[in-house]
Amino acid sequence: MKCLLIAVAAVATLGFPAFAQKIPVVEKQLPNGFRLLLVERHEEPRIAGGWVAHVGSANERPGITGMAHLFEHMMFKGTPTLGTKDAKRDLEIIDEQERVRDQMRAEETLMRAALRRGDVEDITRPEARTPRYKALEEQFKKLVDEQRALLVKNEFDRVYTTAGASKMNAFTTEDMTGYFIEVPSNKLELWCWMESERLLHPVFREFYAERDVVFEERRMRTESTPTGRFQEQFNAMFWDAHPYNWPVLGWPSDIPAITKKQADDFYALYYQPQNITLVLVGDFKPDDAEAMVARYFGRIPKGNQPPPEVLTQEIPSYAEKRYNAEAETNPQLDIVWHAVAAGHRDSYALEVLEQLLNGRTGRLYKGLVLGRQLATDAGAGNQSRKWAGMFEVSAEAKDGVSLDDLERALHEELDRLAREPVPAEELQKVKNNFAAAEYRRLTSTFGILYRLIHAEGVAGWREINEAGPRIQAVAPEDVRRVAAKYLSKENRAVARYTRKAGPGTAGDDDELAGLSPEQKPIARQISSSVKQEKDAAQLRQMLAQMQAKAAQGDPKRQQLAKFIKGVVERRLAELEPKK
């Protein structure tokens, strides 16, 4: 009886149309293959414009990984008329540069052979360059200097900036490359001019300096962050066959080996009109916008062959995989299961499952953080990509809690969802949040553009309006079924991070190594207060007390006592230096 009342109350509170708010997209097709999406909005005199090339790192292959992302950078380098004072000489220099680079690549082949023989340890260090390589570098640098004298630096950006554009940027994922900007509403024609020009005849000048920029991006995002390298490797372990297994930024050995010829071929194949969707959101009249877009983008010739789909499918997972990393981070767990691609009939129930787990009233926080107090934070994410998908759960262990205990508790929460149907009110809570999000996503012009680009690049833009009703239709049994189906043992990979010892780390140094996980935080806390103690007499008293208790202590505690004794003695030595 009580349950029924709650259910009735729940329905009564939901007094608004749960999925009425569609994004009013007008879809058009240009004769040469471009798709065009238009959303009219007059809240401000601005137009957010962008386009998505349906190519990402999943379209690459070993040897050219990182190519899609490198293109994202190169697309800002200009056109024959934008970016240089002398288009003819500029193109000649690029050819000459390429000839020097071919010789450098031949030398790099020799350097790699030397690396394989063990003659050199690291060919990326400046000292590892051969004399011939250095001479070629000098030759190349002269050409760069000559080209630089003709360059109009970052002119593509300057034209837009001078026109009052903002938010210009681009991104690359496994599935897509997206470009976007916002312009004043009287400058739609400028957007058409700029974007169609760079698609019609891009010039990839400063290719090699930009490659170095990408390396710095890799250092920044992956190599110099606490867990970046490990996440990259864990991802590569998770995907066996699928090209999702290499990083979007590319493997470090591939990025410098990419040739201009490979880049040109890649562009011709994946940047042809039938592989690109244009998106405009904002203050324009759709008919006018369509006419202008057709005039500018209609110039770009249709490609010769359709871009190939990604054929390689992930093989079934036969055994659980485990990855144990020592990193500069608090102990934490990351568990990933193979799940489904975007638009898959089960993706909606998996989205609901994600939200049942998430948030301060979600299963993970209530179960692991508040209830059993094993974690300080926990979250889940369903990532349905274009070609395949994954479901992820992660948690940071509370100090003193073993990762074994945390992992066990996590699985218990998930097993419960795979066994028992979700109570109606809990499911309704999650659906209410999905419904409200349908409105929240409409608050900004730029936000709509961004969502359309992402949706179009994964499952097609229509998903943005079709997912809502499908999520509202998810039943408790659907959630239970997908939890049972996908979150299985053999279908998962588990990453466990423990703290690596090192200078300035919080604990786990050699002294703490012998302590149990429960003792380590206590040891750290005592150590930190002892180090701040200025009264030597206090410390002496502490030592005496410990001595007295040592006789009756159980062996488990002796390790901790020994540690504390050491800390106190060192602090005493600091306070009372020997004469």
């Binding site: 708010q21 401000e44 601005r46 300057r158 400028l190 920044m220 500069e328 934070d377 608050t443 919080a506």
Partner: protein, 500 residues
């Protein structure tokens, strides 16, 4: 030229209707655009001094069934006593997350989640913020909850312990990413370790925070006289104002007016300050004293900095460090402004260890160059046009209109300069090359630079064989190694001896 003659000329040069088959020009300058008139919203149209105390900015927007209420609170971490850092942050977090007198935290969370309502609170350096965002059908209930949270928070003890544990574990991570080491040292060197904004939470400062501290903090500062309010969304102005009056009426306690924010910063001596950290990319900031946002020079400084390093790909530092040399992914500079005290000038980038010195040299050269010679007409034009023509973006949503105006009220800009937004574009247009150079000379003195570097010390000091720059030659030739600090106590740790 006479206006009539100009009009005739325009009429001749611009066809009244654009022929569809028109030639596509080879350069974007040849495009002609229709005129775009834009008047910013006027704060007076939205300003409502409530009888119950706060000034509110009320901006109706009937396009979506959503309402956002933001309460700015005159308080801040600057009020934390020395050694007790964290009280403001804890009070800010637990105001909403710690329940109310009539509802336990768990009940409050469940209700908010069921309503799909966002209710959050935080206390930052110089202000507190409490924000409610929900569907307009739930507004009465949401306002009642907001009133409870603001006037009668529970500060539930178990939620305090949880947040203490979460915070302690985040402190343990303070040496894991070089960016957090860098941010911490930048604050100490820019402001002096004694200045309130450079003080950090420590294990012992958060260990001593008790429920009573949070209650006392709340009762002192969370009072309508210290509130400024921004409201936007699905309502009629006439209907919302009485609701806001009721929200703040008959406050159960009398608060205090907070003391002025201390402004006695002291930048470190010029030189290079280096923290050793084993990551393959060095993180660098070049610091110089800055100025306040209401300084008469501020707008010219902003234009100058846009050209130097604030304008992304059109700025000099980005062009030289990234595009020319491929030394960094991001390279930029900023003059923070600061509403109560001057935030520093900071130019920064991340580059591989071996090119840290070389890239730093380039940035110092650019700082020197913009003071030594006038900027080009093209550079100045780009920046001015960008500021003027992207201006409508400031008020792109009704939420931003309410938020911006409430912020101006809170920081005193509205009182001091009520037509600030109306006049801004004209003031930008009036800035010329001399003015840009004058402020560059006044504020940019590379010889006074404090350079903060975090990365592999030995590799960084080696430099790069192709580039003669050495770290020791920058900014007066003094390199000071700063110790890494214990992440929880911030006590200095012993340093590794340099490798031969």
């Amino acid at each position: 030229m006479k206006p009539l003659a100009l009009a005739v000329l325009l009429a001749i040069s611009l066809p009244a209707t654009r022929p569809i088959a028109a030639e596509i020009p080879d350069r974007p300058e040849k495009l002609r655009f229709p005129k775009l008139a834009y008047d910013p919203p006027n704060p007076a149209d939205y300003r409502v001094p409530l009888k119950s105390g706060p000034i509110a900015y009320v901006v109706p927007d009937r396009t979506l069934p959503l309402v956002t209420v933001t309460v700015l609170v005159r308080t801040g971490a600057y009020l934390d006593p020395r050694g007790r850092e964290g009280i403001a942050d804890f009070a800010g977090h637990l105001l909403v997350r710690g329940g109310t007198q009539s509802r336990k935290a768990e009940e409050l969370e469940e209700r908010l989640a069921f309503l799909a309502a966002g209710l959050s609170s935080a206390v930052g350096e110089e202000s507190g913020t409490v924000t409610l965002n929900l569907l307009s059908k739930d507004l009465p209930e949401g306002l009642a909850l907001l009133r409870e949270v603001l006037s009668a928070p529970r500060f539930q003890a178990d939620k305090l312990e949880l947040y203490r544990q979460q915070t302690l574990q985040s402190l343990q991570q303070r040496n894991d990413d070089s960016s957090s080491i860098h941010a911490r040292e930048v604050e100490s060197l820019a402001y002096g370790t004694d200045f309130w904004a450079a003080r950090q939470l420590t294990g012992s400062s958060i260990a001593s925070i008790a429920v009573e501290d949070l209650r006392a903090f709340h009762r002192k500062w969370f009072h309508p006289a210290n509130f400024t309010v921004a409201v936007s969304g699905d309502f009629d102005r006439g209907a919302i104002v009485p609701k806001l009056e009721a929200l703040f009426a008959d406050w159960p306690f009398a608060g205090e007016k907070p003391p002025a924010i201390p402004t006695d910063t002291r930048m470190a001596q010029p030189g290079v300050y280096l923290v050793n950290k084993d990551v393959n990319q060095g993180r660098v900031s070049v610091l110089l004293p800055g100025l306040k946002r209401d300084d008469p020079d501020y707008l010219a400084v902003r234009v100058m900095n846009d050209i130097l390093g604030g304008g992304g790909f059109t700025s000099r530092i980005m062009n030289r460090v990234r595009s020319d040399e491929g030394l960094a992914y991001g390279a930029s500079s900023q003059f923070g402004g600061g509403t109560s005290f001057a935030r520093p000038f900071a130019a920064g980038f991340e580059t591989k260890s071996r090119t840290v010195a070389y890239a730093s040299r380039i940035v110092l050269d650019e700082i020197q160059r913009i003071a030594a010679a006038p900027v080009t007409d093209e550079e100045l034009n780009t920046t001015k046009r960008s500021l003027v023509d992207s201006f409508p973006d400031t008020f792109s949503t009704k939420g931003r209109v309410a938020g911006q105006f409430a912020n101006d009220e809170f920081t005193g800009r509205f009182e001091k300069d009520p037509a600030f937004w109306q006049k801004l574009r004209g003031r930008v247009e009036a800035i010329d090359k001399d003015e840009v150079q004058r402020v560059a000379r006044k504020y940019l003195h590379p010889e006074r630079a404090v350079i903060v570097v975090v990365g592999q010390r030995d590799e960084i000091l080696k430099g790069h064989p192709d580039h003669p720059a050495k770290l020791g030659e920058l900014s007066g030739g003094k390199v000071t190694e700063l110790p890494l600090r214990d992440p929880v106590t911030l006590e200095p740790l012993p340093s590794d001896p340099p490798k031969r």
